[in-house]
């Protein structure tokens, strides 16, 4: 396959996944925003959403002053933000168009149609009333595109690079979503582990579509350790870091050639990362500090993504390493 084609497939897929993540983040923001709070004590959930989205640098004002409207505008419609939903679907379509010969008609149509419809929905500005409706649509469209990929693409290298893009982005997204909680200041230290703390973790889990799964898996009420276990270490969850990394590792194993030493080096690096994650426990993570551990994870993940791009002949693009 042409390296440029691999690049297009990889980034098409990453941008679709990123679009989905932006919708999930905003949904989390909306849910956090609606939690009851003490009078006079401002919470800063919208600031944490901006930080977690990696958009602090492009946010037009001080992220500390972020509110629902400005964050929605920046993460949905603002084209100066390369990760806004509009930027993501534009970039996904741009990449898809460049590699159309490598896509099935169904995948192309799903992306093409999604772009047209989302743009139409936003043509008259962002309507607060229809925000949840819009975010739901973004998520259902992502599922449609994913379904088209699963149901119509041959299981060859093309499919491999699409999967690779998706799982790299998924790992990055889940790590960032977990980190949202770190940035929301609780009013008092004693609130940690209290009611508000619990409710916030619940919203994070909901944004990851995993609230229902929690009780199924753990058979107990929700707590921070459980959330981290589910989203980092659980092998059954489609959103966990372990699942994402195991797919990245698996795809690379298939795509890499035995004859190229750079390919072999990449495989070794991923195997080491994956093994490390398999040996890890929740207490290990908390001992290091969740935020610190997540930051380290994201930096290493981006390093691997850059090496992957280089190994397969397409250079790295913007990859934000800041949290």
């Amino acid at each position: 396959m042409l390296s440029r084609t691999a690049e297009g497939l990889f980034w098409m897929s990453r941008y679709v996944e990123r679009m989905d993540f932006m919708a999930r983040l905003l949904d989390a923001g909306r849910r956090l925003d609606s939690l009851p709070r003490r009078d006079g004590i401002p919470l800063n959930e919208w600031t944490s959403i901006v930080v977690a989205s990696g958009s602090s640098d492009t946010f037009p004002s001080d992220p500390k002053s972020a509110d629902a409207l400005s964050v929605c505008e920046h993460l949905i419609r603002d084209t100066s933000n390369p990760s806004s939903i509009v930027s993501c679907i534009d970039a996904a379509r741009f990449n898809a168009k460049a590699v159309r010969t490598s896509l099935t008609a169904e995948v192309w149509e799903a992306i093409n149609q999604t772009q047209a419809e989302l743009k139409q929905d936003l043509a008259n500005g962002l309507d607060r009333k229809h925000l949840t409706q819009f975010l739901d649509k973004v998520r259902s469209r992502t599922i449609l595109i994913g379904g088209a990929i699963t149901e119509t693409m041959l299981r060859n290298d093309r499919h491999g690079f699409v999967q690779l893009g998706k799982w790299f982005e998924r790992a990055d997204s889940t790590a960032r979503l977990l980190d949202v909680k770190y940035h929301i200041l609780l009013p008092r230290v004693s609130d940690v582990g209290g009611g508000l703390d619990y409710l916030q973790w619940l919203q994070i889990l909901r944004a990851a579509n995993s609230a229902g799964a929690f009780r199924q898996i753990y058979g107990r009420n929700l707590d921070a350790e459980g959330v981290v276990d589910l989203l980092v270490l659980n092998s059954d969850s489609p959103r966990s870091l372990r699942t994402a990394l195991s797919h990245v590792y698996g795809e690379i194993l298939t795509l890499a050639s035995d004859h190229d030493h750079r390919h072999r080096d990449l495989v070794h690096r991923l195997r080491a990362n994956y093994t490390q994650l398999m040996d890890l426990s929740v207490p290990d993570i908390f001992a290091e500090g969740l935020h610190e551990w997540l930051t380290k994870f994201i930096v290493e993940l981006n390093g691997t993504a850059i090496e992957t791009a280089n190994v397969f002949g397409f250079g790295a693009k913007e990859v934000s390493e800041s949290l």
Partner: protein, 472 residues
């Protein structure tokens, strides 16, 4: 004026199926289906960009649903006439970059090479496989009555439009399968294999084994990108851009995820001047440095070869009938339109005096830009054009306004006749042939003679009836 649907006032039997279909549905219902067809085109992504509009909006080329029909006998004229022409044009290009017999024998003047940007001196002495330079030639043909066809111009560089021919048929068979019942129309499905075979047959001398084919596109911002994608997909070959390619050891490689892979036959859809910054435009990023070296070393075949524009220049056009006689020892099957070259003094005088009756074109122009259609122009437009003409007569040719045949199109007021032309695509590998269809372009404005899509023309599905149905 000749309306292709009728013989005198009687419906031609070739159109009886279409006539019954038009009557059964009625124009209103059909116009609704037209919207369906357009939605289908947009969904598939068949769009083109118009450069002068300065944005990257994807637009649809207007599609008229009433098919245009050729019977067997009519098609045979088009087919033999285009093949003959393509053969002669290829002989001419080979001759110009070789021995120049046609010039030495005084049939074509040597001056045609002077100051001619289409003539590439770098190609002198090159010999492509099978001596074929222009593997895909589009021959623009018009008709003035039942038996009279003219060739309006030749396209020997990188003619476009074949994707519309194939997709128009695809959309028609999807929306109106009943029209095609019983094998009335000769299918066009073979084009991909036909072209791929010609490319394989054109493998360079140093290629051993199965040649690797690729299609070179300027990228997705090009107005014809859809077609590039479509053709690469149809043939199952890589669609490459300049940045995917590099030349090493006089061989062309593409960068792949498994390392470099050599390309043997490259169907390029970029202009000569951008092909190779080592030889042509220095700042071009669309092509690849070293391509010409690789080609001359016999390591890659470029399709169509560089320099083929020498054969489709409007000033060369007038000599094509002579070429047919000279190289093939045959009489032209389809004649040229009588043409006045304004560089000749007596022709210029005639054109000056008769601007109101003539069509005047730039010698190197294309796409219907910068031309004058005398009979439909105002006196002011004619006077303005006369000034441009006087400033540089050599730059213009003129032809009488032909009474182009018409074909009915669907309008909100029912059926209405519009002028049409036809571009069949002749493919040359080891043999020269074409598929039984071509691009029918139709003027959408009443009375207009300009059919170019960049000037608001549309397209139609073009049928060639199977033998049994032609004589029914």
């Amino acid at each position: 004026m000749y309306n292709e649907m009728f013989r005198q006032s009687d419906l031609r039997k070739e159109y009886s199926v279409i006539d019954a279909w038009l009557r059964k549905h009625g124009p209103e219902a059909l116009l609704e289906r037209q919207a369906e067809a357009e939605a289908l085109f947009r969904k598939i992504g068949i769009t083109f960009a118009v450069y002068s509009e300065g944005d990257d909006t994807d637009r649809l080329i207007p599609f008229d649903m009433v098919p245009r029909v050729f019977n067997n006998a009519e098609w045979s004229i088009v087919e033999t006439g285009s093949v003959q022409r393509a053969k002669a044009l290829n002989c001419f290009i080979a001759d110009i970059y070789g021995d120049r017999k046609i010039i030495n024998e005084g049939i074509v003047p040597a001056e045609i090479l002077e100051n001619n940007p289409a003539y590439l001196k770098e190609m002198n002495g090159y010999r492509p496989p099978n001596d074929i330079w222009s593997h895909i030639i589009g021959v623009d043909i018009v008709r003035t009555d039942e038996d009279t066809f003219f060739v309006l111009e030749d396209n020997c560089r990188t003619p476009s439009g074949i994707s519309y021919v194939l997709q128009n048929r695809e959309v028609m068979t999807r929306i109106f399968p009943e029209l095609f019942e019983g094998g009335l129309v000769r299918p066009v499905d073979g084009y991909g294999e036909h072209l791929a075979t010609a490319m394989q047959e054109s493998a360079p001398v140093n290629c051993k084994g199965e040649p690797t084919l690729a299609l070179l596109t300027p990228g997705q911002f090009n107005s014809a990108y859809y077609e590039h994608y479509f053709l690469a997909d149809l043939m199952g070959i890589e669609l490459v851009e300049g940045s995917d390619l590099f030349v090493a050891d006089d061989k062309v490689f593409m960068r792949t995820t498994k390392g470099p892979k050599q390309i043997d036959v490259l169907y390029r859809r970029i202009d000569d001047e951008f092909l190779d910054p080592e030889v042509f435009q220095k700042d071009s990023v669309l092509g690849v440095a070293g391509l010409m070296r690789a080609m001359k070393a016999g390591n890659v075949t470029v399709i169509n070869a560089p320099g083929t524009g020498i054969a489709d220049d409007k000033s060369i056009y007038t000599y094509v009938p002579d070429m047919i006689r000279f190289y093939l020892d045959e009489e032209p099957i389809i004649p040229n339109v009588p043409t006045y070259c304004c560089e000749r003094e007596e022709d210029y005088a005639y054109v000056r005096a008769n601007l109101a009756d003539l069509v005047v074109k730039e010698v190197h122009g294309s796409g219907g830009y910068g031309m004058l259609v005398g009979p439909t122009s105002t006196q002011q437009e004619i006077d303005d054009f006369a000034l441009k003409l006087a400033a540089n007569p050599r730059n213009y040719i003129a032809q009488p306004t032909l009474a182009l045949s018409t074909s009915p199109i669907l309008t909100t007021d029912g059926m209405s006749p519009r002028h049409v032309d036809l571009r069949p695509y002749v493919i040359s590998g080891k043999t020269t042939s074409l598929i039984p269809s071509g691009l029918s372009r139709v003027a959408l404005r009443e009375g207009s003679l300009i059919v170019n899509s960049s000037q608001g023309g549309g397209v139609k599905d073009t049928w060639v009836l199977t033998e049994g149905n032609s004589n029914a």
